[in-house]
Symmetry: C2
């Protein structure tokens, strides 16, 4: 029989946590990185390669999918898992973030947000109840509440207003989710901008409502990294230890390492695929810009010890050529290689937490990044 | 020990021929379709999928590779096979066709062609001797002579002049190729436009020089299909039966079927990948335009009997969505599916020739295409 949704905290090491999230579509090992499948595809990567990278769960974007192909259409075709041929867990966001960043002519009030589709200009209404309905139609395993996500910097008054509105929407989402199919979970989202007091107040209020998991939203939206880490440090202790904690839209490999060390369990970010499309590789040796002319004659692979075959096989010279020639295969290989590195990093963190050596792992990883890329043979 | 280059004619059925080309990188089963790896990549398809489609040999473009990344650079990196991670046979064209179609400010005289690179504007000289040198540097298994490829229609005087120049270049290419590494082959190219008499004269002259294989060039450049088939019918009998015959730059599935029935052994064409990037699928049921709105709700795969997993797995609705959303994965899946269909068609033709049932196979295949796509379930 399929599992109900659940979270098991297996071990801790400092503030870092090792766990398992169980869903009806399988288990998610945490700390977990979720590749972003914006439009029902991880851009440029076959699902078989997404899985082979060590990915347990992917993220789908409610905003994009509700506009095209449409949630009702996906439901009629058997749900998002079948539609995109991904039989494993899926988390969907609520659409709130993209409404703020992509949609035009948006109007926000107590009822929800009204916006003009960036695809065909149609007026669309997204209420907390509709956000849940759309995610239920998509059939995601983890559903996110609708929230208002501010760009930072913002005034304290703005942050507090958005936080309180998001909290009222959290309650409405929870009520709307009561009719959802069993075995799935709705997460609440902590808002409050860069103000630790607002964040803690909001976290406590969400815990009072009660969710099977909590996200920290509204970060990585323009604030300095130190501000983000400070908000995490202040907020995480206000969240229950027996529920997963998800830091939304983050981040660089360094962000993941630092956030895990502060008690975060889940992440999503477009960076591995977006940077791959722009010729940037994430590796054990740090970030490498393949567009740089110095790679043109370099026969070495990106990382001869990578678990990913492409990272071990193709020369930097070939990846440079593909990137310069704007060949799809360059974006395809680098997106896959980056995804594999992100998942290798997550696996390394999980093993280190299990072994009680997370601090050593963190220091060694940072040192390897900082030593950076080995110069080419002369 | 690696094989020397050779061709074995295994069976004939009418004018259709079944054979094996042996090269130092492996055997090519003919009739063979060669996917085009313009810039050292089959656009949008991983080499593992190219191989899995049943591809024995790919084509590389001398013109593109000599301009970027450069033939000397590819040679220093171990040759084209290693560069693009394709351990199997490679044929390279001579660059002549692309010089005519892509380069600017070209000047053609007895010595060769001078042109301005479409990439960086540099002046480049391509002589018959340099065309051979570049292909030797790339390390291809089958090397093509430099020829002048006219657009049709052209006057008889133009066609004859270009044919005679190409013939003199064939002799120079053969001399230049004498120093090439053993186990590789240089093919001559029959020109002569749409004039059967010129074609036959040119074929006989090339056979007098003597090559291990012969191409028919300068077709599929604007002439009606019937003209192309007529030129093939007139030219093929003038070529030796014990050498492979390669029809350059052709074509649609129908072109392949008709040309094989007239004695052609090898083909190359960008159509499977180019059309895949534009949302067009080649299938047993004929061509299907996935951009068409009627596919939006269609849960059926493109072909539930295809040997290709993607063609059996993904719904037309999903492929429609990816194509409309301009997602890379749409181009990736359709390019792979199209390549798989082309190779399925070639495998079907080979099996039919072996069984002596080519005429039946040809009729049945055409009938299935003409019955076209099954309407969606209502």
């Amino acid at each position: 029989m399929a599992h109900d949704f659940g979270f098991t905290l297996i071990a801790t090491d400092g503030s870092a946590r090792l766990g398992d999230i169980t869903t009806t579509h399988g288990t998610v090992r945490t700390p977990a990185f979720m590749p972003v499948g914006t439009q029902a595809t991880i851009k440029g990567v076959h699902v078989s390669a997404v899985r082979a990278s060590g990915t347990d769960i992917i993220l789908g974007n409610t905003y994009h999918l509700m506009l095209r192909p449409g949630a009702e259409r996906v439901a009629a075709l058997g749900g998002l898992h079948r539609f995109m041929n991904w039989a494993h867990p899926i988390l969907t966001d609520s659409g709130g973030f993209q409404v703020m960043s992509l949609a035009q002519l948006r109007k926000i009030d107590e009822s929800g947000v009204t916006f003009r589709s960036h695809i065909d200009g149609a007026m669309v209404v997204l209420t907390p109840e509709r956000a849940i309905e759309v995610q239920n139609l998509l059939g995601s395993d983890i559903v996110m509440q609708l929230d208002e996500c501010l760009k930072l910097p913002a005034t304290r008054a703005e942050m507090e207003r958005a936080m309180r509105l998001s909290l009222r929407w959290a309650e409405r989402c929870k009520r709307a989710f009561e009719d959802a199919a069993p075995g799935r979970a709705l997460f609440g989202i902590v808002q409050g901008g860069d103000d630790p007091a607002l964040r803690v107040e909001n976290a406590r209020a969400l815990v009072d409502i009660g969710f099977p998991g909590y996200a920290i939203g509204g970060l990585a939206v323009g604030e300095p990294p130190a501000v983000m880490l400070n908000v995490i440090e202040e907020t995480a202790p206000a969240l229950p230890t027996d529920k997963p904690r998800y830091l939304m839209g983050v981040g660089t490999p360094e962000d993941l390492l630092e956030a895990v060390s502060r008690g975060i369990d889940m992440f999503d970010c477009v960076m591995p695929t977006r940077n791959g499309r722009h010729g940037l590789a994430f590796t054990r040796h740090g970030a490498i810009n393949l567009r740089n002319a110095r790679h043109g004659d370099d026969p070495r692979p990106l990382d001869e010890t990578s678990p990913n075959e492409a990272a071990r096989t193709y020369s930097r010279a070939y990846l440079h050529h593909l990137t310069r020639a704007n060949e799809m295969l360059g974006a395809m290989l680098l997106s896959e290689i980056n995804l594999a590195y992100y998942q290798e990093l997550m696996a390394g963190m999980r093993a280190a937490i299990r072994a009680g050596s997370f601090a050593d792992f963190r220091a060694a990883t940072r040192e390897t990044w900082e030593r950076a890329d080995i110069p080419p043979r002369s």
